[in-house]
């Protein structure tokens, strides 16, 4: 398809890179991007990092590409529904926007604190949007006495690092036995815990918050399930993300808070598992089968996935699903926190073993490989990013685990249990 109308739902990273790829592949028709935020697409990774430390202004994050794209921008316009049979998107107050092809890129939002009255207390924040980061930065400028961060995942840890760099007292609470336990397991998590504590973070692992407490509408602290309390006048809720799929209710597509199901060509699947040839999805909202995951569906929350998957969807939209083939990009992400750069390739989900194969946590630079049933599935570097690319091929091929033994600094590689949960049967 080279002309007609393509509408993109969402106007952030996947939407912009998908729209650019459509144009690059020769689409010359009408292209409309509809986003509920008032801003042109901007970059989210700095929001938990240098925007909070004040080094980057929230509004400086607008992405390159927004100026040159030949498209109609409909910003501040929430998409409210999809008329699949009529091939139209419903926008704002009931306007119909007809399309020949639709790219769904509505991403995800921060999972709110589950008790609405407590989540609404002044001083309780989440970090997903530019406006969230600006509001949190303003709250930090008032120099709270103690900041409590709920959740020690990537965003919780990055936010903790940034706020600690401002010299504020920070407590991080998570029910897991270490930070980053869910995505990386306790081996790397334990190393990061040491860095967090060295930076002066009051790290409370194995700690579950039951309630947030307030006075006069402002948060005062948290009550724990074991009866203890933590006093804090600013709380950041970092409990993961929920996919923005509510607007698809009633469309017959297979979507829930875990994502919109797609096939390998990024075509949206209906509730019977049949692909819709006119509707595609990419980025955080898309739950696509991945060959590295035995073809199981997986919804990633990675910048690089939003870019690569949007390009893949664009190719399938223009040249057809057969030409595009199956999406098989090796998942990759980075995080920076506490002076460390953590980079990952592959999927750690369901890994049963992990081994440090290069460097050593003692020296502060190392690379760990994850295995599942004897095959290499992921590699994670800590301040050792240049070692990582060598593991892409072993991961892609599912090479025997561990893939490299006898490195110069690693006379004996000793795998240990990963500490990650086993996969549910497909």
């Amino acid at each position: 398809m080279r002309d007609g109308t393509i509408v993109v739902a969402g106007a952030s990273l996947a939407a912009l890179r998908g729209a650019e790829a459509l144009r690059a592949r020769g689409f010359s028709g009408r292209l409309v991007l509809v986003g509920d935020e008032p801003h042109r697409p901007y970059d989210r990774p700095p929001l938990s990092k240098h925007v909070l430390t004040g080094e980057i202004a929230p509004e400086a994050t607008t992405l390159p590409g927004v100026g040159a794209l030949r498209a109609e921008w409909r910003l501040g316009a929430p998409v409210t529904g999809l008329d699949r049979a009529g091939r139209a998107l419903l926008v704002g107050g009931g306007e119909r926007l007809p399309f020949d092809r639709l790219l769904i890129a509505t991403g995800a939002r921060a999972r709110p604190w589950p008790v609405p009255d407590e989540a609404a207390l002044a001083g309780v924040h989440t970090v997903r949007s530019r406006d969230d980061a600006a509001a949190l930065a303003a709250g930090l400028a008032a120099r709270p006495e103690r900041v409590l961060i709920l959740g020690a995942g990537f965003i919780g840890c990055e936010v903790a690092s940034s706020i600690r760099a401002l010299g504020l007292p920070v407590t991080v609470a998570d029910p897991a036995p270490s930070p980053l336990a869910g995505p990386l397991g306790p081996v790397i998590g334990g190393f990061v815990a040491g860095r967090m504590e060295a930076a002066g973070i009051d790290l409370r692992v194995g700690t579950e918050v039951a309630h947030l407490e307030g006075a006069a509408g402002r948060v005062r602290g948290a009550r724990l399930t074991d009866g203890g309390t933590i006093a804090a006048d600013l709380v950041v809720v970092a409990l993961g993300a929920v996919r923005n799929t509510e607007w698809l209710a009633g469309s017959g597509l297979d979507a829930d808070e875990g994502g919109l199901s797609c096939d390998g060509a990024c075509r949206a699947l209906d509730e019977a598992g049949r692909p819709d040839d006119a509707i595609f999805a990419a980025g955080d909202v898309a739950r696509c089968p991945h060959p590295l995951f035995g073809g199981r569906p997986v919804a990633l929350e990675h910048w690089g996935n939003a870019v690569a998957q949007a390009a893949h969807a664009a190719r399938a939209m223009i040249d057809g699903p057969e030409a595009a083939g199956r999406y098989a990009e090796v998942p990759a992400f980075w995080s920076s926190q506490f002076g460390l750069t953590i980079k990952s390739l592959g999927l750690t989900e369901g890994a049963d073993a992990v081994a440090v194969v290069q460097g050593h946590p003692r020296t502060g630079r190392f690379l760990a490989v994850y295995g599942r049933e004897g095959h290499t599935v992921a590699a994670v570097s800590v301040d050792a990013g240049r070692w990582l690319p060598a593991y892409e091929a072993p991961i892609r091929e599912g090479a025997p685990f561990p893939p490299i033994v006898g490195g110069a600094d690693q006379p004996s590689v000793r795998p240990v249990p990963s500490g990650l949960p086993a996969l549910q049967p497909a």
């Binding site: 980057i56 992405l63 100026g67 690089g304 980075w334 920076s336 301040d383």
Partner: protein
């Protein structure tokens, strides 16, 4: 001007930091901190950084001159 660095691709080679030291700084062993919105006056330095990056990780978009499409 709008700048983004693909930090999956970036290998902390710091060439950009030599080319445009006001806008790219390496912190710790490999954390690249950069200005995503440098002033137009930095155009030449930013272009040098884009060219210098050995892994082509830097993308830049200049503002169109007023009146251009």
């Amino acid at each position: 001007m709008r700048v983004v660095v693909d930090l999956n691709r970036c290998q902390a080679y710091a060439q950009c930091c030599y080319a445009a030291p006001e806008r790219f700084v390496l912190r710790g062993n490999e954390i690249l901190v950069y200005d995503p919105a440098p002033p137009a006056a930095d155009r030449a330095a930013i272009e040098r950084a884009v060219q210098a990056c050995p892994v082509r990780a830097i993308r830049v978009e200049h503002d169109a001159p007023a009146g251009a499409a």
